[in-house]
């Protein structure tokens, strides 16, 4: 078995299993935590508040943009770039078709792929620079935050180094880092990719029940 066969075979299936089981386990755990019974008379719908919070907080409102503008823009640049990269890069689509879905879809042209990668890297480096350059964010950052950030960066970097698509070792190296990232994901701050819905929803439900727009 070659290094590539290992990382795209047994290791990939093990990592994907840990990822799925881990994420479900975490989410179920959060949901089962529940919340304290609220005996007050509701002035509004908690569910509507949860939905509103998730939608409205996609963009800062009021006077908060000055404070969160940089984080927001860099965050969107990174996440949109990353999702486009993961879902619409030709090699990724082929991999997803072969290993997950059994079907594929239209890929971006190479220039679009590269542009998405540039955006993702730009956003991630800006977020890292803010994390180490802003004393408050640095103080709030934990090892877990930094590990998740660096691991994501390394996955993207190894993918970028394999862009030539001509050397098997580089592809295998990229796959190895992807496998590690998937295993790390459920047990780290990377879970924010799923939990942000719940945290915003919880806050929105609390406000919504009080009749306040979150």
């Amino acid at each position: 078995m070659t290094f590539l066969e290992l990382t795209e075979g047994p290791l990939w299936y093990a990592a994907a299993t840990i990822f799925v089981v881990g994420v479900v386990w975490q989410i179920v755990g959060i949901v089962l935590l529940g919340r304290k019974p609220d005996r007050s008379v509701p002035r509004g719908s908690a569910l509507a508040g949860a939905v509103k919070a998730n939608v409205l907080h996609l963009w800062p409102h009021g006077g908060f943009f000055n404070k969160t503008g940089f984080h927001l823009v860099a965050g969107y640049i990174f996440h949109i770039g990353l999702f486009v990269l993961v879902l619409f890069a030709a090699p990724h689509i082929v991999f997803i078709q072969d290993h997950i879905t059994g079907f594929g879809w239209g890929a971006l042209p190479r220039w679009g792929f590269v542009l998405a990668a540039e955006a993702a890297f730009c956003g991630l480096i800006l977020l890292w620079a803010r994390r180490i350059g802003d004393p408050v964010i640095r103080l709030l950052s934990t090892q877990d935050d930094l590990a998740g950030l660096w691991l994501t960066f390394i996955v993207m970097l190894t993918g970028c180094l394999a862009l030539g698509e001509s050397i098997e070792f580089l592809r295998a190296l990229h796959m190895l880092t992807v496998d590690i990232w998937l295993i790390y994901f459920p047990f780290s701050r990377l879970m924010h990719g799923f939990t942000f819905v719940f945290s915003r929803g919880y806050m929105g439900a609390t406000f919504g029940r009080r009749g306040v727009t979150p």
């Binding site: 800006l126 350059g133 103080l139």
Partner: protein, 357 residues
């Protein structure tokens, strides 16, 4: 009588036979020429078949060197130039003087920094830290600095590997491993290049206002700058820092333009321009990396308290007075007009250090 004595009968017979054979051969050639008159007219006496066999080798190589067109056997290359001589010269320059002197420049820079450390030691804060802070760099200044630093380091490492890898890395790790590293770093280098361009433009805009030359900068230089025993006057940036800024901007511009040309070769299309772009690119890169070694040293271990300016956005009051007295006076005067005074950290300077930190 003389003839009879010199030529015996057998010898005359032999010579006669030779004359007959030569005559027959001449006749045969004459017949061939008569019947192949067209070929003679087309080749003008050269060997038919459009080969170079009848030409002098030196002449042929000279023509190749001049880039003259030839009929070539592989039309897929899209050119009739058999040898691109300027490419050979470019390669010789790239692997010769450029690599050699570039390598020496980097080595000299590193050695100079080592010598500076040995001679001057770490430049400590005179009188020690006061625990009072002055705001030095805003969040935007710090973020863009670290963004440029991150992309620069990735480009420098990958670029140096591409430039010197064959001489330095390949003997250590072997051809096969080096081909993997070189391929990977080339892809990385091409991808990170545009990110650096965005950063260097933003850095230029953000830092420009404090980097114009002032009279105090000349005085700083005349007094010996970093080597001075006293404290030469300086605004927010001293002459050395301003020189670094402009060097980074100028080389950054060269790297950006040449890098775009190399990333998108179809923009120019001329091979010679690409070769020139690569030489400018590598030359500017080596110069700015050599200077960056000094910048990194002085910004981290070389000068006590300097790094905090770029990590926390603040510097100790004594550090500011020692290295940037004119700027420190200006900032302290501004703070004196507020009711908090300089003993309190500015709003954007972050949290105070814990006791004993």
């Amino acid at each position: 009588m003389f003839m009879k004595s010199c030529f015996s009968k057998p010898l005359l017979s032999f010579l006669g036979s030779l004359l007959v054979v030569a005559g027959l051969a001449w006749a045969a050639m004459a017949v061939d020429v008569v019947f192949s008159g067209d070929a003679l007219a087309q080749t003008r006496g050269a060997v038919p078949g459009n080969v170079q066999g009848s030409a002098n080798d030196s002449d042929m190589w000279r023509r190749l060197r001049r880039g003259e067109g030839f009929v070539i056997s592989d039309p897929r290359t899209g050119t009739v130039v058999a040898i691109q001589s300027s490419g050979e010269e470019w390669r010789a320059f790239r692997n010769g003087p450029l690599s050699t002197y570039g390598g020496w420049l980097l080595a000299v820079s590193a050695l100079a920094i080592g010598a500076f450390y040995v001679l001057m030691g770490r430049l400590n804060i005179d009188g020690g830290p006061t625990g009072r802070w002055l705001p030095r760099f805003t969040n935007a200044e710090r973020v863009i600095h670290w963004y440029v630093a991150a992309t620069f380091i990735m480009l420098a490492v990958s670029g140096l590997t591409i430039l010197f890898g064959k001489q330095v890395l390949m003997p250590l790790i072997g051809q096969k491993a080096f081909s993997v590293v070189a391929s990977a770093f080339l892809q990385g280098h091409n991808l990170f290049g545009p990110l650096f361009i965005v950063g260097i433009v933003a850095m230029f805009i953000i830092y420009l206002k404090d980097n114009f030359l002032k009279a105090a900068d000349i005085k700083w230089l005349m007094m010996g700058g970093l080597f001075s025993k006293s404290h030469p006057p300086s605004w927010k940036f001293n002459f050395g820092e301003k020189a670094w800024f402009w060097l980074a901007v100028i080389t950054g511009a060269i790297l950006s333009v040449s890098g775009i040309i190399l990333d998108f070769p179809s923009l120019l299309g001329e091979r010679s321009q690409l070769q020139l772009a690569l030489l400018f690119h590598a030359g500017a890169a080596v110069i700015v990396i050599a200077a960056a070694i000094a910048h990194i040293y002085l910004g981290t271990i070389g000068v006590e308290g300097a790094l905090e300016g770029m990590t926390a956005g603040r510097v100790d009051e004594n550090w500011a007075k020692q290295h940037h007295d004119l700027w420190a006076e200006e900032v302290m005067a501004e703070q004196a007009t507020t009711e908090d005074g300089p003993a309190h950290p500015p709003a954007n300077a972050g949290p105070q250090p814990a006791p004993g930190e």
